[in-house]
Amino acid sequence: MVLLGKVALGIAGTALAGLGLICSEGMIEVNVVEKQPEAHHVYVLAPAMLVPITMHFIPNRKLGRAASEIKPWMPTIRAALEQLRASEDVTLVEVREPGQHVLVAKSGGSVVVDVTDNDDIVHISTPIRAIESTVEQIAAASSDTRD
């Protein structure tokens, strides 16, 4: 009985540690609400670490064009993301028009994009670390895309 308890504790501990590891890079949040009579509501909350993991399963040849386009800009992207991570929370861009509001901000360790118009409300929040690792993976794919 004691042994069974130890095994259960081990499994629970491993699961908890795994969960902690997966959530260590924060969460990606996507919330889309349609303002139609038949309103659709999409809400996704996923661990940010899943994105770079998923990127491993995309064949390099599929990333070829994106990789070659992004690679010259990598020093700029790295510098921007590094500074963004270090900076305090800030609204980077805000656009208001009649019936439309767009907001791009740094909040916590994430980049947040909020778009509200007459038809939809869209909220996307992505951890900066996840953006960094994903962009690095896309850029790294370029050297192996000659097939």
């Binding site: 020093p75 500074q83 800030v90 609204t91 656009v95 009649p98």
Partner: protein, 193 residues
């Protein structure tokens, strides 16, 4: 003996206090400065706000190598200055006392260029186009930084941004006409409000 011990003790406390102060001063983050751009179009009910940390701009600019922008320097064609020696003019402006250098009053337009309190001031009033009014106030330190590069046909934008970071809060550009209002300024607030 007791006095010597006490003196050593006082010295130790003082040394610890000074080193603590030094560490605190070194660890304290420098206040972030922001470049704000605000555009309001009253006729359309549109507004655009951009708030850019200057440290980010200073870090990004040297990494961009595209078109005329390379390593934080902008290359200018020989024709852009129409043969005018801008450096010589700026040197003359820098060494001159505060004064109004150019004042043009026409039927449709007023132009004024002056130096005041370490700032280069340009004021343009276009009476023909909805009374468009443009005010540009650039700290001379920023102008100096812009032309600090050794090459004649280059402007050091990265150095100018660094100089802006060191400058105090300032409104750099305002453009106002009948419907639109544009304002560019720097301060330590992360939002434009």
């Amino acid at each position: 003996m007791q006095k010597a011990t006490r003196a050593i003790g006082v010295c130790c406390v003082l040394a610890l206090t000074i080193s603590n102060l030094a560490v605190t001063a070194m660890a304290a983050p420098a206040t972030e400065r922001y470049l704000h751009v605000k555009v309001d179009d009253g006729s359309k009910g549109e507004s655009v706000n951009v708030n850019l940390p200057l440290s980010m701009a200073a870090a990004i600019l040297p990494t961009v190598n595209k078109g005329t922008l390379h390593n934080g320097h902008v290359t200018i064609g020989a024709t852009d200055f129409n043969g005018v020696d801008v450096r010589a003019i700026l040197e003359a402006v820098r060494t001159a006392p505060d004064n109004e250098f150019v004042s043009v009053k026409e039927k449709d337009q007023d132009v004024r260029v002056a130096k005041s309190n370490g700032n280069l001031i340009v004021h343009v009033l276009d009476k023909s186009k909805d009374g468009e009014k443009v005010d540009v106030i650039i700290p001379m330190k920023v102008v100096d930084a812009l032309f600090s590069t050794a090459k004649e046909n280059e402007l050091d934008v990265a150095a100018a941004v660094r100089a802006l970071s060191d400058a105090g809060d300032a409104v750099l550009v305002t453009v106002q006409d009948a419907t639109e209002h544009v304002r560019i300024w720097i301060d330590s607030h992360s939002s434009a409000e």
